[in-house]
Amino acid sequence: MLATVLTAQPVPPADKLSAPAIDYGAIMPVLIVLGAACVGVLVEAFLPKHQRWPVQVVLSLATLAGAGIAMAVYLGDESTPKNGVITLAGTLAVDRPALFLWGTLLVLTLGALLLIADRSVEPGGAFVAEAAIRPGTIQDRAQVAGTGMQTEVFPLTLFALGGMMVFTSANDLLTMFIALEVLSLPLYLMCGLARRRRLLSQEAAVKYFLLGAFASAFFLYGLALLYGYAGSVKLADISNAAAGTDRSDALLFGGLGLLVVGLLFKASVGPFHTWTPDVYQGAPTPITAFMAACTKVAAFGGMLRVLQVGFESTSWEWRGVLWGVAIVSMVIGAVLGLTQTDVKRMIAYSSIAHAGFLLIGSIALTDQGLSGTLFYLLTYGFTTLAAFGVISLVRNADGEATHLSQWAGLAKRSPVTAAVFTFILLALAGIPLTSGFVGKFVIFSAALQDGMAPLVVIALIASAVAAFFYLRVIVLMYFSEPAADGPSVTVPGAFTTASITLGVIATLVLGVLPAFALDWAGSGTFAFQ
């Protein structure tokens, strides 16, 4: 759908419209994902209720596989240019970073989709049967006990994935904005679909929607100012204009600032993080996993491209400011994480701290900074996916038991779950032999290479502080007496097991033998035009 829309957009300097050239091979993964999402809508429209779930699961998994194969075929083709192609009248750049991010998004979405599809941990799945039912009514209690679910989450997930993929490869700001909306709107909706704690879930959805709209407005306003400055929405044109003209920089930097705020919001970088804890807590856990892993990949992918392609020539002016933002984010994440009592909120603050680390990598404008950030996104995605997978397992009669006190002595009830979660926390803390260590290492060394030593020192201190609250959970799980009426650990079904295993094994493998992924992340830079 999107691709169709974009072709209708005229090429600015030409005085007559003509059909743009399209490299179908390059954009095939996106076309497959968005096309399958449309098919998913039709499935919802025409199939009877009981057939929808199996059809949607098969369709979604097949879509991810198909998109992956299409990407592999494109990459394996000898004639594929190494520097990437820019297609669809200059709106999409399919280059090595974009392909790396696409691959990352596809495999992380696979993990999230497995969590979404699971119906064994929570009978009937983590999603509400009828979203329109008012919380607290008799019908609501009935739907909690029933086994139906809104299978619309599957096409919505695919739409969001499609938006993310376009977002990471968008070569002009208008396309980027459309992609931002395409990825955001399904997420707003899915946040409100939790089967239990409906009010909390709906509150999260409304908060996310309102603040997301607010942030989109910032982005759009920034876009308008930059168009006013450069006379074009293309990143390359903005870059050229900034390097070679004497127009008013007030427009340029005002626009950049507003644009970056929109991106920082999506990436949950402090001080634009305020939605994160509430939304992570309220949303259904599989959706939280999807957001935490994939939205972060998309947001930082877009940010890398905007900063490196569009604004490299003015980096002297904005880099110091983003230093400050990174510091604020790391400090907020690490320090406020200390006082959290809810596991999901704690991971949310952890993600804010990680966003600060990622921002450090994003503003190191070297090849190493680019590849380091890409690698970090991959590793963080897997780890956080597995973390939320484990969180969905610890339950009591009211659903998930996310209060930290309920996790006390978990190791005695379920040693395997506790061990897996310990491993994940160690990875988040960045202990060697986990991917978190390698990720931090490559980002920090890239930052050092680019002359940001003080920032690295602060980042190290922040990660030491953050290590404290990860350790606190480990201590709680192993050294505390379990509460008498504490939660039990559900034996996960095949889907959730597969998802957690995927995350944990990737975390381990990327920690021990990161060379393969690092090579791929460093195999090319952004295509310029």
Partner: protein
């Protein structure tokens, strides 16, 4: 929201192609001055609105009766009561509004397509049908799931 944004964006893109750079200021910080006409327009519009609202009570006769204080002043009792009066707007209205957006977007795109259908040729025709089809999917979903049952 999306629809208005898109219509703005497309309108922007559909401006007469003659000035290649939309803004061609001489140089320096004075370029913001090219926005001055827009600002003046805003100010004039606002001034006119305020002027009209204020002028009415000032110059007109003040003879109130019950019918005049009611909404719309057209004599028909609004039904159901508005939100302030404790009434609710049926949810079907929202569905209708959203369906309108669906077709609104479709329309917005059909106009620019029609203008340049010649230049785009067969490619454009195929694309616009694909576009209508995707909008049709959404319509089909609403229809099948009971969005059009207004009872």
């Amino acid at each position: 929201m999306v629809s208005t944004l898109w219509s703005n964006a497309v309108a922007l893109a559909q401006q007469p192609p003659s000035p290649v750079q939309p803004i061609q200021p001489p140089s320096g910080p004075s370029e913001l001055g090219s926005y001055l006409p827009i600002v003046i327009l805003f100010v004039l519009a606002a001034a006119f609105a305020i002027f009209s609202v204020l002028l009415g009570p000032m110059v007109g006769p003040q003879r109130k009766n019950r019918a005049k204080t009611e909404a719309y002043e057209c004599g028909i009792e609004p039904s159901p009561q508005p939100v302030i009066g404790g009434g609710r707007v049926p949810v079907a209205y929202y569905l209708t509004a959203m369906l309108f957006i669906l077709f609104d977007i479709e329309m917005v795109f059909l106009y620019p397509f029609a203008v340049s259908a010649d230049a785009l040729g067969l490619f454009g025709l195929v694309e616009i049908f694909l576009f209508i089809a995707t909008v049709g999917f959404a319509y089909a979903y609403v229809w099948r799931r009971g969005g059009l049952d207004w009872n």
